[in-house]
Amino acid sequence: MGELIAFVVLGAIAVAAGIAVVVVRNPVHSALFLVVNFFCLAVLFLVLSAEFVAALQVLVYAGAIMVLFLFVIMLLNVAGVFESQRDPLRSQRGLAVCLGLGLLAEVLAIAVSGAARLPSGGGTLPQDFGSPTLVGLLLYSQYVFPFEAVSVLLLIAMVGVVVLTKRSV
């Protein structure tokens, strides 16, 4: 029962915040709504027995990534980064909404019809499911190669950022 309440409340906030991200004009507000969304998801992760991921969600996403976003928005805001008032692509806008709704309808239909037939792990959930220990062990054994590949990816990103923004060679 508790999970259902959490799901309904947090889910509603998350969707509302998500829509707000897309709708509001000011990028700063968008970013803040995105943070709200991320926090809701973090709590849902907890509900779903994913403690480690929930913690990361707060630390990495809401913490680091969104701060970066806000930082850049503030940095660029000085000269007024807001979208131009004119809307050259009104038709595209309608089209996009239709497309999105179509996609949504499709995914919903699929989820409703397919969910009953999803394969299931069965049994009860282990007590420490989703704990940092278990996730960490998995990460360093079976997933050690992707884990290492991520480090290369981060190195590339680092080099990339330097290349793109360093003023003089």
Binding site: A149, V159, G160
Partner: protein, 486 residues
Amino acid sequence: MNHSFVPKAADMLVVGPETIVAAAAMLILLAELMPARISKAAAPWIAALGLLASFIPMTTTGISVRTGFSGMVVTDGFAVLMKAVLAVTGLLTIGFSTHYIKREDLDRAEYYALVLFAISGMMLMASSANLIMVFLSLEILSISLYVLSGFARTQPRSQEASLKYFLLGSFASAFLLYGIALVYGGAGTISLAGIANAIASEGAARNPVLLAGAGLIAVGLGFKVAAVPFQMWTPDVYEGAPSSVTAFMSVGAKAAGFAALARVFLTAFGDIKVDWMPALWAVAALTMIVGNVVAVAQTDIKRMLAYSSIAHAGYILVGLAAANQAGVSALVFYLAAYLFMNLGAWAVVILAGRRGEAGTEIDSYNGLFWRNPGAAAAMGVFMFALAGLPPTGGFMAKFYVFSAALQANMVGLVVIGALTSLVSVYYYARVTVVMFMRDPEPDAAPISTRGLLGVTLAVTAAATIYLGVLPGQLFQLAGLAQIARP
């Protein structure tokens, strides 16, 4: 948890080529600790040596099927051949880059490091045996390419190309990711072998969640290979990015995308190919039609080549849509042939261009024959090869792809392919008309073919003709490009 934390040599061998390439990239970065003059001069050589060294593990494993890192990665005939294609792409890219990045004032060692990182991502893509590796390697190559597209960071066109590529690329990645999530839910696993088993043994085959996931994965990878209707980023990005980067990604990203598409769809979703073959049929047909028809209207050679690369993605998709072994072999052969003719054409674009990405209008090739007969002749070879005329590798590639599709009884698709090839003859021939049958502008100076760029041109032209006359060996090799079925 019976897996060791420490990778074994056998594991490393599976991903040997990409590891060596990535290590070479890091070496280039380390070399920057030395004086700039030395590190700059050393970078292309380190890169070339790294790419050459990556052939060592390829020859060691050969076409044997091995998996590594708890089944995360796999090497087989297909993976090794795709990696070879990518390594050659990298070598040729270095060949035409040295001159170009000096001319455009982009001469920084990071350029080569990023090219190598991208190649390692592309290679990893060909070896991915798990959707997590598909996603990661896609990101490795994409992020490298985002940065490379914006490498001319003071050029607005390059910046915008980078931004557009980045936004649409991440958009596509998000589709891929959501698709993976749905497949995970539908099949209960993200390993390709596991998905295939789930489809084969359980009722997962008809689960709409799984099918929707497969569709979204196709969309995500379709963006990477520029298949219609996910091609809209291509012309702008190709036009705006530095020419050498465009050349590189028009072959490399395409090869990687097709490697992933082929592996994911033929292994994980191989048993439900009746579901996706018609969709792929339609995408292939659309891609060939749109790419070729829109290319006719282009006046800028970079945009023309961009649409042409869309069209060629269509021909490669024909091989994939055939969903048989001949199709996979044809895909590998096509990419190998395409790599030479397309990189060669871009090398000419680089040679004929001027500082600041000027001189890319097709009209500026007026009378190129008088200004540099060798380059014009080579461009002629590439144009006829891209149009699919014998005796060039382009013809053999199309022949192979069409054969594979006809083996799968896709007559309609092949007829569409043949007719769109006819359209392509028109716009490729136009380039030869301009080069050979018009007089140069009075103020146009002769162009000299410079060092490494000239070598690259000669190599690509010779290889294009060689593959058209004696394709037997590569046909045979491509025949070994078997994707290991779990």
